[in-house]
Amino acid sequence: MKVAVKGDTSSFAKEIEQACGQDVLTCYQCRKCTMGCPMAFKMELKVSEMMRAIQLGLREEVLSADTMWWCVSCETCATRCPQGIEIVEVMDVLREKAFKEGYKIPLKTIEAFHKVFLDSVKSYGRLYEMGFAMDLNLKLRDPLKDADLGPVMLSKGKLKLLPDKVKDLKSVKKLFENVKKLEESRA
């Protein structure tokens, strides 16, 4: 990738450091992270390239990249990074920022996954696995995806037809509301 770099390039790295305490500027491009990454074969911008792009202050490019959406948070990169950078925390910050700032998420599927998951927790206090899988497939406009697995799991007693709700749903709703309130008061 050919890029033009101008101005203070370190501000994006500082912004990330402020959010999670990880100093991306210490990355010296050994590429151990990319070498061990099980999802590298899918990423257009590999992990080490993403680290470099952050150092170069390429905020736009990084927040619209596919890297953090393919990342499965397996922690292999962070475990092996000789500079001790907790790369997955950087990924989390990038996902959160991309979400909140309305960046187009290159993997619709993953975006839907997180939305549907949290909706279930919000409504029931717990993950309703079967409802989750069905809602997800509806959102992906592929309602029959994995349909062959449903009957297998049901016959094995692995799926509940009805959600398991917590009794004190009020306090769960309150928890979500309180998080939102506190975050908005700081935004």
Partner: protein, 287 residues
């Protein structure tokens, strides 16, 4: 030995057999579990992809509840829950402002006294190999087990603080203690791709296939796991992998606790053996 017990969502449904078999193993080894009343979901991978505060507050609820029960240790058998609980407890210990935010969100206070434990660690280090060997009534003689640890049991090391990060052996030790043979193989900590499995099935299959292939090549009769996400992915996807790669592994994927329970004399029903999708009875019948 008394612990608060946080089963988590999977153990209530798709991983019921993990819950059953852990309870059975605890029964045989004198571990007392007290389930946290009305526990809520830890938010797993989705909360931390969307809001940091939410990702700490959801699991912190279980820590607060553990304290309220007068207990100091909580067991979370699902490795995804385990990690979220650990992260919450560590981050709150290091960051007073965050702890205060969480207390505001939960509308309650947290003393910071709870230790989050993984279930392998409890059996190996609190119960101990000796006591486990004593409890065995039908050793799993001749059964070749590939112990699979996946991503989060050992990673990242500063959070997991457990076992060797690239070549762990705690599950192998437990399997040997109950008479099985733990095979040597290279995929113990490779990612099985489960978090992509529902949304991007095809990409995940590549990763899943590699793990299963590794276990088969090592001559394993079955794979032992300690995580409901690994279990369901490795078990459920074998048919799709067969269709995609033309290899049908037919490899039973069992919780280590199911195998331990059987060795302690629990029945196949007690440990939910019939709930596993790739039929484990042929390989277990031989022992």
């Amino acid at each position: 030995m008394k612990y608060a017990y946080y089963p988590g969502c999977s153990l209530e449904s798709s991983a019921k057999e993990y819950d059953l078999s852990i309870r059975a193993c605890c029964h045989f080894t004198g571990v007392e579990l007290v389930e946290i009343p009305d526990w809520i979901c830890c938010g797993a991978s989705s909360a931390h992809a969307t809001s940091h505060l939410l990702s700490i507050a959801l699991p912190a609820k279980a820590l607060v509840q553990t304290e309220a029960m007068g207990l100091h240790q909580v067991i979370a058998p699902c490795v995804a829950c385990l990690t979220r609980l650990k992260v919450a407890s560590m981050e709150m210990a290091d960051d007073d402002a965050l702890k205060k935010d969480v207390e505001t969100v939960l509308e309650g206070s947290y003393q910071g006294k709870v230790k989050v434990r993984n279930v392998l660690d409890v059996f190996l280090n609190d119960v101990g190999v000796e006591k486990i060997q004593e409890a065995v009534v039908s050793p799993l003689k001749g059964l070749k087990v590939a112990c699979y640890y996946g991503c989060l049991l050992t990673r990242p090391p500063h959070i997991a603080q457990f076992d060797d990060v690239e070549n762990p052996h705690s599950m192998d030790d437990l399997m040997r203690a109950v008479g099985a043979e733990a095979v040597d193989w290279s995929f113990k900590t490779d990612c099985c791709g489960v978090s992509m499995s529902l949304a991007e099935t095809d990409a995940a299959l590549d990763l899943t296939n590699r793990v299963l292939e590794g276990a088969k090549d090592a001559g394993a009769d079955c794979v032992a796991v300690a995580c409901p996400l690994c279990q369901s992915n490795l078990d459920l996807r074998q048919k799709a992998i067969g269709n995609k790669y033309g290899v049908f592994y037919d490899l039973p994927i069992l919780y280590f606790s199911q195998l331990m329970g059987l060795a302690f004399g629990a029945t196949s029903r007690d440990v939910g053996l019939e709930k596993v999708i790739v039929d484990p009875f042929p390989v277990l019948g031989a022992i």
